[in-house]
Amino acid sequence: MAKTEVLLPLMGEGVNEATISSWLVKEGDKVTKDSPLLEVSTDKVDTEIPAPASGILLKVSAAEGDTVTVDQLLAIIGDSTSDLDASAAPAPSPKTAKGIPPATSTQASVAKSTKPQTPSSANAQVKSSPLVRKIAAEKGIDLATVSGTGLHGRITKKDILNHNPTVTTRPTEQLAKVDSPAPQIPAETNDRLTTTFDEDGNELLEGVAVEREPMSRMRQLIAKHMVDSVRISPHVTTVFEIDMHEIVKSRESFKDEFFKAEGFKLTYTPYLLYAAVEAIKKFPIVNTSLDGNDILFKKDINLGCAVALENGLIVPVIKKAGDLSLSGIARRLNDLVVRARNKKLKPDDVQGGTFSVTNPGGYGSLTSNPIINQPQVAILGIGTIVKRPVVYQDMIAIRPQMLASLTFDHRVIDGEGGSKFLACFKENLESFSAKPM
């Protein structure tokens, strides 16, 4: 009988582990090849893992909330339920599955020993102490739900004894368990406040009743990245007003044709990205990173485009945007946005950005002062397009106007460089004449 092991796939450069968010299929259920089997969350993205084969999900080897490493066994899919008993036999080690003899070579044994060996693998990933782990085992406490006050967030005896298990019965528990496998985010981003409890057990902050909801892992990471960036880079913002007449005209004349040909709507964003790429080519200083006393000029232009999600934000990257036409950018952007909203992004999709664009204009914002996405040195903020009376060719005319801001790292870029880039971006848009297809 054919059995297929489901291993955690390599999801991108430097992504070695993931936390299981939820199983979409139960043990004993039928699965079809390539249908979503489970959702996992990594440092970079939340994504689905498809079934590698069709059959019956015989056994689930890693529970929701567990942190698993690449190649670790997640589940077994078999032909029929009669395989179930056989599957209870010890699962072969992941390395064996790949054809390396079991534990005879040092390499294999080292690889094995680096894997979590206790059943509560999530507990092994959290910084704690031998004593804490024993207390956790006795009381059945998932250490991922305990916040540590020790050095670098270590969970101490005091923390686990003070841990209030009633907190985990709240409706937000699922969220906490799934999204925060370890309190690894440095304390500086989440200082603890002193709260009290009233007689009914309601938590109070400075006398005001509060409902405590743990931050999702994505939220925690955003918090950390934002604090880090503000600390690392001296931020300066410059704002230009741009006449969008030519762009509006171009989109109006091509959008129907575009939709017929491509199957999705032509928005303003590809125009803006295209104009930004062309400006970056002229002012490559905005497409750099600072490394000690050296400036690293990036040979590719990889555009990070901020996409709002239900409870956070993700910045998928259009790789090698410098080689793409306007319609090429539009296609790639559409693909990334659709996958971001469906949680289908791969970690590689969000890595390697060299310059970022954020577009709060979609929500009506006129201009913004965004935070640089480290280790980049600049981010372009796009405002909404509004029709305004302006002086145009010495007359008052109604024109579609837009504010664009460039926030840049003043260590690398001066006001002159930032303004010249933005002036070029403006010029590219105001004198736009190319066909979008």
């Binding site: 102490s129 031998p130 004593l131 024993k134 006795e138």
Partner: protein, 463 residues
Amino acid sequence: MAKDYDLVVIGAGPGGEVGAIRAAQLGLKVALIEKREHLGGTCLNVGCIPTKALLASAKTWYKLQNAEEMGFTTGDISYNWDKIQARKDKIVDQQRKGLRFLMKKNKIDTYEGHGRFVSKNTISIESKAGKKETINTKNVLIATGSRVRELPFAKSNGKNIQTSDHILSIEEVPKTLAVIGGGVVGTEFASMFARMGSKVTIIELAPQILPSEDGEVVKEMVRNLKKQKITISTGTKLKGLKDDGKKVIVSCEGIDDQNFDKVLLSIGRAPVTDDLGLEKIGVSVDKGGFIPVDEHYKTKAAGIYAIGDIIATPALAHTASAEAHHAVEVIAGHKPQTINYDANPNAIYTYPEVASIGMTEETCKEKGVDYKVGKFPFAPMAKAKIEDAAMGFVKIIFEPKHNEILGVHIIGATATEMIAEFALGKILETTVDEIAMTVHPHPTISETIQEAAHDALGGAIHM
């Protein structure tokens, strides 16, 4: 113009000195005020360092006397007390110079004189000659330490009735010595002078010497001290001392008066908080003379911190250093971990040495804590025999549910070095299982630790 500082440290003992250096490392402009001519406080000048220097000589003397067993024929041997004293003075002097260098290296301004608060931000310094100057500061770390405690009815005179301050520089080894107070200081001196040939009597008010140590350890210590011909009189109340110029008559309740060449008064130490001008900053001391502080060593007055022997934590040099390090990091805006006093080790440099951490069996019983004991003697261990140190044991007191280590008590050679393993173990919340699992090098005395852990888990190997 008065100089301005970020931090003024009053007292250059092991607390103040560490605080000043750490503050300078963190970028603060620091002044250090010391009343004594030398830096280093009690520890370096009249405490830890000179006593241990004398104890090292006493240990060598003992080894020489027993060298026959190791295969040496020594003939007539003798010691020169002046040279032993000179060696001690040299070590102390070298350490003092080292401290001066560290202050210079860290650009810390040192002031010699008595520091007092004029206000929260102004400190006056009065030199021995009576010269006064003031300096301004944002923060103050009070680290004035302690002085020898005196009895109202039996005062030291620096002649035949001495304190630890005097006896360290004693010109010759007394033939007979009475030690009033069998605490750590008294027992260390008793042990040292007994080895150098004095006839020593310890007089202790409490029912046992070393009152805060584990009963089993103290019993073993008493057995050893008695073997060294030390007379121990516990539960004995001193009535008075009379120095007639040649001898001291020691009167105690319930026993006949006895004559001694010298008397050492070692009944404890008292915090130095009385002449600091604390009233100027609205800080008052408690009944014991200690300054109340929070877990970050902040006093009631903003920007004023106190550490070491002047607060109600263990009066130990290493404790003061740790507290100063913490307080100064807080002043510099850091968020250090609070000190875990359960992980604070004690070290007693008697022969044999004693070291301990955490709870004793007696405190477990008193507090109703459920506990078990793992214990292993030095005697079966090869290295202990090799080093002629077969006397001693390691005792681990643990909580049987999770095997949490509650206390560890070691008596015997290298005890004061070996306790460091448990200081780390306590910080990391190690349980007996990890100690048993830790491979200890062979042959060493530290193997006893692993065996005691094995014993705790029910299976010592070499017994």
